[in-house]
Amino acid sequence: MLPAEIVRLSAEHLWLVAIAVFAAVVIAAPSAVILTRRARLRRWTLGVVNVVQTVPSLAVFGFLLPLPFLGVGKSTAIVALILYALLPILRNMVVGILGVDAGIRESAVAMGMTGRQILWGVELPLAFPTILAGIRIATVTTIGTATIAAAIGGGGLGTFVFRGIAMADTKTILAGAVPAALMAIAADEALGWIERRFSS
């Protein structure tokens, strides 16, 4: 449990979270736009994503293990983390876009803006604070969830936590838990700051 190992595992942890959140945003963005245009599909999809969210994270890691191309290791961990990050991001994107004032949307249509112009020029800018809030929630929770990734060989700060549990050594557990908690607080603060800058 050298300081160098703490730094290495923190970096690995951050990397897992960054990839998962980034991938979730990339998947969520076009899906959210489609879902805002189709009410029935929206109810179904958000329902399914909601259910995924309720499955205990350790179980999701377990379910993914037997799948081809995944198995033990980082890729399984990342897929599971993406599934978890997806819900808050997708939901906030949908809510943010649908929450644009009806009068504003109507005048955009009435002024002869095309669907694409309304999306980029009106809906996304106005939904941006809500979208960012979703990314913030997803990032903070993923930092926590990612500690469990170590159980299936995903690496990251969870490695200390599981090692500490196995050795019944509180100090080792803390070596994983404290940096993870600090990371979550820092991410929350940083994204919160960006959010405030844009919502003023």
Binding site: E106, S107, A108, V109, A110, M111, G112
Partner: protein, 253 residues
């Protein structure tokens, strides 16, 4: 005078209920027609058929002699200014950006957009150096409404549609806005179709008044003849005018 907008036997059904029944109405160039009626009379639905925010379920609407369904909706809407309560301004854009929106969509050169925006803001009594860089949340209700009208006029459309534009304003500001609008309409020579539930406003701004009752046109008459109308709904509306105010608002119109 040429007919700019024509409703021919327009009906509208929603949820199995017909809320507009065979509306026939023409709006001629440079007149201002007030669609007067109670809430739920169908007046806003009728207005929104002109720029295809609502499609009639029967009959047709024509703009510049052509059925609106033959128009590309984007082209049609850019030829029609649209003003709603509170202006429907984009909160994330400045006043100048709001006003210059349609010219920008139309690909006008920057300098021309700037000149046009300044001209309109000046005409609305909102000098661009002071107001141009503000955001809508920094404006009063009356100022927002003026920006909304400037935005609707920006690309010099032949027709303005206004949906209860002054309803959310306090009485004094509303009166000032109505007077300003009446002056503007004369100086810009625009054709306008506006929805209102306020007979004073209809008499003051409308050159003709079309009274809607439960989806039917009950009276269509020039403002000075409208006050003589004796149909039940016209009587009900005229009764809301106190003695004295009748002459006053009539004179202003």
């Amino acid at each position: 005078m040429a007919v700019l907008v024509e409703f021919r036997g327009v009906t509208y059904q929603i949820g199995g209920r017909e809320i507009l029944h065979g509306i026939d109405l023409c709006v001629e160039e440079s007149e201002t027609v007030a669609l007067l009626g109670r809430s739920g009379s169908g007046k806003t639905t009728l207005l929104k058929m002109v720029n295809r925010l609502v499609e009639p379920t029967g009959g047709e609407v024509r703009f510049e002699g052509k059925p609106v369904t033959d128009w590309d909706p984007i082209r049609l809407r850019r030829r029609i200014g649209y003003v709603i309560q509170e202006g429907g301004l984009f909160p994330h854009a400045t006043v100048a950006e709001n006003v210059g929106l349609v010219p920008k969509l139309e690909g006008w050169p920057k300098e021309r957009i700037r000149a046009r925006t300044m001209e309109l803001l000046d005409a609305m009594g909102l000098p661009a150096p002071v107001y141009g860089s503000r955001h809508p949340r920094q404006l009063s209700g009356g100022e927002k409404q003026r920006v909304g009208i400037a935005r609707a006029l920006a690309a010099d459309p032949p027709l303005l549609l206004l949906d209860e534009p002054f309803a959310a304003l306090d009485p004094v500001t509303r009166f000032e806005m109505q007077q300003r609008f009446a002056r503007l309409r004369r100086s810009f020579g625009k054709t306008a179709l506006f929805v209102t539930h306020d007979i004073r406003e209809a008499l003051m701004l409308g050159t003709r008044i079309a009274l809607l009752k439960e989806g039917r046109l009950e009276v269509v008459a020039p403002a000075d003849e409208f006050v003589q109308a004796r149909t039940p709904e016209a009587t009900a509306f005229l009764a809301t005018l106190g003695e004295g105010t009748l002459d006053e608002s009539h004179a202003a119109g």
